[in-house]
C-alpha cells in the first residue's frame, strides 16, 4: 500500500514556495462543462487531458476549471477559453485529441482553432 509518508517529502520540498501558481487577473481560464450532459458526452477525459497537458507544458497562466451545465447540451463536451480583454471562445464536441490541439495552438500560440468553435456548426 502506498503510504502518506511521501506527502511529508512533498511538503518539505514545497514549503516556503508561496504562490507557485499564478492566478492573477491576466490568466487564461479554460472552463469545462461537467454536468450530467457533459459527463455523459465524455467531458471527464477532456478535463483530465487539459489539466495534465497544462501541467506538463508548465502553462502557469492557464487555469483549468469546471462548471455546471452551460445550456448547450447537444454540443457537449464544451470547453470555453476565457482570456481577459478578448471575446470568449467556445469549443464544442471536444475529445482528448482535440483538447491537445487547443492547448498547442490556442493556449501556447494564441491561434483560435476555428474548426472546433461553436459558430462553425
Amino acid at each position: 500500500m502506498k503510504s502518506l509518508e511521501e506527502l511529508k517529502a512533498i511538503r518539505e520540498k514545497m514549503q516556503g514556495q508561496v504562490g507557485f501558481r499564478d492566478e492573477g487577473d491576466d490568466g487564461i481560464r479554460v472552463v469545462v462543462g461537467m454536468a450530467t450532459c457533459g459527463i455523459a458526452a465524455g467531458a471527464r477525459p477532456v478535463l483530465t487531458t487539459l489539466s495534465d497537458k497544462v501541467q506538463e507544458k508548465g502553462l502557469d497562466k492557464v487555469k483549468v476549471v469546471q462548471t455546471g451545465c452551460i445550456g448547450l447540451c447537444k454540443y457537449e463536451p464544451i470547453v470555453e477559453v476565457i482570456e481577459p480583454g478578448k471575446e470568449k471562445v467556445t469549443y464544442v464536441h471536444m475529445t482528448p485529441d482535440k483538447a491537445i490541439e487547443i492547448i498547442d495552438k490556442h493556449l501556447v500560440r494564441g491561434q483560435v482553432v476555428s474548426e472546433y468553435t461553436l459558430d462553425m456548426k
Binding site: 502518506l4 511521501e6 455523459a40 483530465t48 469546471q66 455546471g68
Partner: protein, 185 residues
Amino acid sequence: MLPEISLNILDIAQNSIRAEADLIEISVLVDREADSLTVIINDDGCGMTAEQVASVEDPFFTTRSTRKIGLGVPFFRMAALITGGTFEITSEVSVGTKVKAVFVLSHIDRMPLGDINSSIHTLITYNTGIDFVYTYGFDGASFTLDTRQMREILGGVPLDSPEVSDYIKEYLDENKKETDGGAQL
C-alpha cells in the same frame, strides 16, 4: 445515460458539491460472494425536505432554474435497478444526503465500474474547498483516502498543486491494484 458507474458517481457527487457540502464520503464496495457492487455517497450538505426526496427520482424535478429536467439521479437509479439491485436516498435538511445504490455484480446489464480513480481524482483536485473520504473495498480488502489526513500532513500545500495531484493519482492507482489485484470490473 452515463455508460460507467464511475461517471454516475462523478455526476451524483456534483449534487453534493452544489448542496455546499464540506465533507463527501464515497464508498465503492465489491463483494463477489454476495454478488454485489455497492456505491454509497454521503454528504453533509444542505439536505432535502421529504417532499424533495420523494420527487428527486423523477427526471422532471430539478432545483435549477436553467432547465426543467434533472437526469443525474434517475440515470443512477435506473442503472442499479436494471441489474435487480436497489437504490435509496435518505436526506435531512441541514444535515445532509445519503445515496446508496446496490448493483448485482454478475448481471448482464450491470454497466462497468469504469475509471473510478479518474472520477475520484477529478473530484478531489477540482474541489479543493471540500474534504473527501473515499473507500474502495474488494471482498475482504480495502483502502481509504482521506483528504483531511492529507491536508494535515501538507500544511498549506494545496491538493491541486502538480506534485500532490500526481501523488493522489498514484495513491489511488497503486492501492486499488493492491486491493483488487487488478480485477476487471
